[in-house]
């Protein structure tokens, strides 16, 4: 059921002075910095593999909560709550990944009398379900991918009618699917029923439910995001947009803000619709609306009810500290900015530095023997690594983010090239060489590359 208004969110009167950071790596460092700047104490937690993490030494408390496997530590809700109980933390920041979009975790955190730094459990649950999220967005006037907001009917004739209405090509998706699994593109009417039958069988086997839905398939979309920030008093703003089309297997590699080549009069109404949607569902804290963008039109795909990896590019252009704002919202403070105050300036890029083989993308573990990170005006590095740091094989291969900011996109590209050239990470394999090459690519330099571009670029590069 859709929550009707902001009234359902009782203003949080929970004051806290200590934040437990239920995450690891660069985001643990980033959140710790924000807490310190707000005068809050921090609790860092770790798995056995992260026992030597640098941010453990700078936190007010540091506690190992479980074995290296994420399921036993960073995903272990109860171990996290116990850590909060032991350290007297009054709030939990989930970061991104792990439990950040787990409605059940948000619920048990609140039940334990703690503040979950993020939206409430029902917002997470609503947005986590593809169909209910789409319904909520349509209700708020956010443009969605054409297609019904219900599961596909069994009647073949009805399905045909729906597909025709949407217009081919269409995509059939498993309602419970994700990450590129359980979906099939149909180019023409003649292939519709065969595709449905196959996908239904896959869906039943892979996700335990034969429920499918149908949408318009976009051929060359870009991935555009809108960052929002909301308080619990009914105020919400959007902080501009990002382009995150540079992806490999749904993993973003480079992000930039603003998205190049989108006129303000096109994105403006979409941004306002996002803000409107937040007000309608009583959304709290930070969130990201993800869209596909093709031929001047936006299509909502999903909302991320958490901090994003790529939040720094928006921080660089908007000048706002998104993590601090998120924590303040969780404290129940009213937003300090109005929409008119939000002025995005210049251009920002973020490169995700991964500990992986640049050719076959296999994760690389080991000890970082030497490390040189760039510094200077308009350059920011968010990372937890240091010389001697042991990259463990247990988690995501992201070891740092290189962020630049300059007045124009062209200047920002130059700055990123320079920053990348100055970066040295020895002892393990990284994707630095790939990033360097990407920033020399002409098409990327022109901007407006679509979500398939990187994969094709990699294919061609491999062929060379």
């Amino acid at each position: 059921m859709m929550p009707g208004s902001i009234d359902k969110v009782a203003p949080s009167d929970k004051q806290f002075d200590t934040v437990l950071i239920a995450n690891r790596g660069e985001i643990a460092v980033r959140i710790q910095r924000a807490c310190r700047e707000l005068g809050l104490k921090t609790v860092a937690v770790c798995s056995e593999a992260d026992r030597e993490a640098s941010y453990g030494r700078t936190a007010d408390s540091f506690l190992c909560i479980g074995p290296s496997s994420a399921a036993k530590s960073y995903l272990n809700k109860d171990a996290l709550l116990l850590a909060a109980r032991l350290t007297g933390a009054g709030a939990i920041h989930p970061g991104y990944g792990f439990l950040s979009e787990n409605a059940e975790f948000a619920r048990v955190v609140e039940e334990a009398g703690l503040v979950f730094i993020g939206p409430d459990a029902s917002s997470i649950a609503t947005m986590g379900d593809k169909i209910s999220a789409k319904r909520a967005m349509m209700a708020a006037g956010v443009p969605c991918v054409p297609g019904p907001d219900t599961a596909l009917p069994d009647d073949p004739a009805a399905v045909e009618r729906i597909a025709l209405e949407i217009g081919y090509p269409v995509i059939i998706k498993a309602a419970g699917g994700g990450g590129g699994r359980g979906m099939r593109v149909v180019q023409e009417a003649g292939r519709l029923h065969e595709a449905i039958a196959l996908t239904r069988e896959e869906a039943q086997q892979a996700f335990g439910s034969p429920s499918l839905y149908i949408e318009k398939f976009l051929q060359h979309p870009r991935h555009i995001e809108i960052q929002v920030l909301c308080d619990i008093h009914g105020s919400a703003v959007w902080l501009g947009h990002r382009d995150c089309s540079m992806q490999r297997r749904h993993q973003k590699v480079v992000e930039e803000a603003p998205a190049p080549g989108i006129p303000p009069e096109v994105i403006g109404p979409v941004g306002l619709a996002c803000v409107q949607a937040c007000r309608q569902v009583g959304y709290r804290g930070v969130g990201t609306f993800e869209f596909l963008y093709e031929d001047g039109a936006f299509y909502f795909i999903e909302m991320n009810t958490r901090l994003q990896v790529e939040h720094p590019v928006t921080e660089m252009t908007s000048g706002l500290d998104i993590v601090q704002s998120q924590i303040k919202a969780a404290q129940g403070n009213p937003l300090e900015v109005s929409q008119a105050d939000v002025q995005c300036e210049g251009h920002s890029f973020e490169c995700r530095i991964n500990a992986e083989d640049p050719d076959n993308f296999l994760p690389s573990a080991g000890v970082i023997s030497d490390l040189v990170l760039p510094e200077g005006e308009g350059i920011r590095v968010d990372t937890h690594i240091h010389a001697g740091y042991k990259v463990s094989p247990y988690y995501d291969s992201l070891i740092g983010k290189l962020i630049v900011h300059a007045p124009t996109r062209a200047e920002a590209m130059i700055k990123m090239r320079e920053a990348l050239s100055r970066t040295r990470i020895g002892g393990i394999a990284t994707n630095l060489s790939l990033l360097r090459a990407l920033f020399e690519d002409e098409a990327f330099g022109r901007g407006e590359t679509d979500i398939h571009y990187l994969e094709q670029w990699l294919k061609q590069r491999g062929a060379r």
Binding site: C46, E48, A49, R51, S61, F62, L63, C64, I65, G66, P67, S68, S69, S73, A79, L82, A83, R85, L86, T87, P393, Y394
Partner: protein, 140 residues
Amino acid sequence: MSAIDFSDPATIAFLTDALTAAGVAGLEISAPSGQLRIVVSSAGEAKIGSNRSAQPGSVSPVLVRAPLAGYFCVAHRSGSAEVSSLPRAICATDVLGFIRVGPVLLPVSAGRSGTVTKLLAEADAMVGYGAPLFEIEVQS
């Protein structure tokens, strides 16, 4: 590369973790200082035996680690002299201490027979998961 100290509990623990993660059943390393043999049982708990300097009948230290983060309590109830008199022979089911969270206590049992030789954590201190609490010498 400097020589790895195979008697270092941290090294053994790291190797054990690596073996467990890799799904490898065991490992045997021969070095001038002696032999190390790690067998990862199906339950995931490592049985570690080592034969330092190849002296038959020698003992090797095994660490008893915190099974959970919490406050470490050495003795419980009426302050029995359990750990205060070290070294002390114990059997596998003996409770050596407790991990306390609020009013709840999780007993830490020895897990193996041997002799408790060292107390490695401070009483009433907050310890993390896996923190070494006791050292037991096990007859090889």
